[in-house]
Amino acid sequence: MESESVAVVFMNGLGNFIFFTAALKVLKQRGYDITLITNDKFLSSPALREVSKGIFKEITFEYDPNEYSQTFIGSWGIPAFMKDYAIHLNPRFSTINWTNSGIHEVQHYLDTIGASWEDYDGYIFDPIETSFQADPYKTTIVLSSCAVKNIFLKLNAGDKLKKRWNYFPELSRQLIDLGYEVVLIGISDEMDNCEGINFIDKLSVRETGDVISKCDLLIAPSTANTIVADAVGTPVLLLEGPMQTARAHPINVPFSVVRNYISCAPCFQKATWKLCKDPVCMSNIKVGDVLIKMHKFLQKPMSSKHIYRPIIFPEESLMKTDKKVVYLTSCFNRYHILKTFLTSFEKSNPPDGKIIFLNDASQDPRIQDLLDDFSMPNIEKEVLVRDKLEKMQTFSEYKVNPSIHAFNHLLKKLSAEVVDGFFFDYVLFIDPDIVMKINWVHKMIKLYEELSLELKIGMVTPFNTDHLEYDVDGVSETLRSEVGSYRLREGSNLPYMISCEILMKVHKTFSLFGHKSMDIGKSEEIFSQGYQTLVTVPSLVEHYGAYGNTFLATKPVITSLDYYEGWNINE
């Protein structure tokens, strides 16, 4: 069977490309044939040519949308001619602000192809064997200049000087005196007068990878060689001045940072970066600082560790209801989160009804398999698939309200079912990034039925901000304070529940649904008619925060579940 052909858009330096291979590896594992859309500078760099060998089906400087089933384009590091496409598709397309985002570059590339950190499986980088053998009786330290061979962007030549560290000669001598074996790599006069095994300007990138892999530690300013070390598994001691460590630190190997405090650093890509003529952030780092940090680091290199213990909610007797509920769920990538969601949903004792999934043009093929395999005896299932409406996938975060489009799509499907005689009592809008407590739907129904006798309640949400906030990326401020506070999204707060009666009253007819920006469940219309949201405290769901941004909306009714502790739940 022929593989699906996809295009990726990239234009940047060597280190960036190695980070980018993390996303390419995921695409390869999904079985895609990848074409690279770039500009002519890419192939003019021998280093990039060498590292990219064998990864791509084709490298082109032109773009024809009809040739590819999907095109992945990030909001950073793309040729100018591709920006027009991106902006045409998404007027909110903007370049990424590393200073504020705090996102690692690898994460950015994974986001671009619709993958998450759970999918990360290393880089694509194969070193070429060299004759170099490290002394087995000594600790071998490799020193790298900030300039790396074959960087293709000309502007780097000047900028590199700002990362330059002038004490390598002294450091090499001190290390040899202390009994270490020293290896020198990189280019330029930065390493002149250094002592040690000299590979300056002698190795290709993949050969450099081999040399680094045979050493115990790399000491270098943040540069492509530190990323090569990350790819080949050698710990790194970063000499940091103007660079954003948060954006480009090694992620596979232990690393440590030597940085002397100065309030203007890190300044990379800020206004001060261009104006700085005296990078004191680098010259402030003395040999003694490096040696102290190095000794400490060699004794106890620190790797990352992630522990996940599933949250176990207290067991409760199962509640019963004769109400019929429709669950509407839109899924976009995030395989691992969806898996947890489906397991949690099964265990949460949902009332009988129907669940309608929408696979909202996920790039991850596993999503469809997961949805197809899901089944529950008391719940009818239907899976809708939205074709990739836009072949070019811009950085999803900047799309305009994709979730709302998806839910409107689901509501249209529901309206068609109602016309065919389908009946339900409640409809639940759920983003698949939550874990639910047992009986959560029953409790919402019970609360609603009790309180709606006195109050004008339009919708019920089981989620409030006694949880950690959504994963907001600089779009709006998060409202968060004591338990009992609330935050709503687009006038609503996913997940939420609306009764069939309210839905019909507000909408009159389902056929009015359109693709406006804010008509998810016509929530703004519900509020405009004087209805309020009922928010449960504490929350009946735990929220992962995989999607969406938050905005302040109308004033809700807040109720405490503690009040209902005396419920006879089987009543």
């Binding site: 690692h104 405090y261 309030s263 001060t272 005296d278 402030n284 949250i311 950690l468 907001v472 929220h543």
Partner: protein, 146 residues
Amino acid sequence: MSLFVSKSGDEEYIRQRNLRRKGIGFNEIEIETRIRYVFSQLVIFYIGNLEQSFLDQGDILGFDLRKYEHQDVSILLHGSALLLSDLDMKFKQRMETINFAACYGIPIIWFSRKSIPHRYMWRFKLSVVGDIDAKEFWREVWNLNL
């Protein structure tokens, strides 16, 4: 670069040359920017709320746990780690703090029984999510060799 340090009790004040925007250009000025604090133990700054049992257990193991309450961010340089529990800060403050710690190689620990910021997973040297008891948690922190 000139760096002047003045002392007052346990606090040290640092004067640095800095760039400040003036019109379309920049002026070099000298300002008293930061206070350096002097700590003796293995200090861990934490943001959010830690349960009392966790504070007590950390204390037994010799960690000097101090709450970071949006003071001068450079105080984090004097800590061995930054522990993020249930966050109670706004996005900008949060990212400024996390980025600062990451830039200076200060290990960041994520600890919450609720949710996790998936897009920032790479930031954390240790992340613990879900139900865990105090002893087990601090054992993991201890194993980090701070």
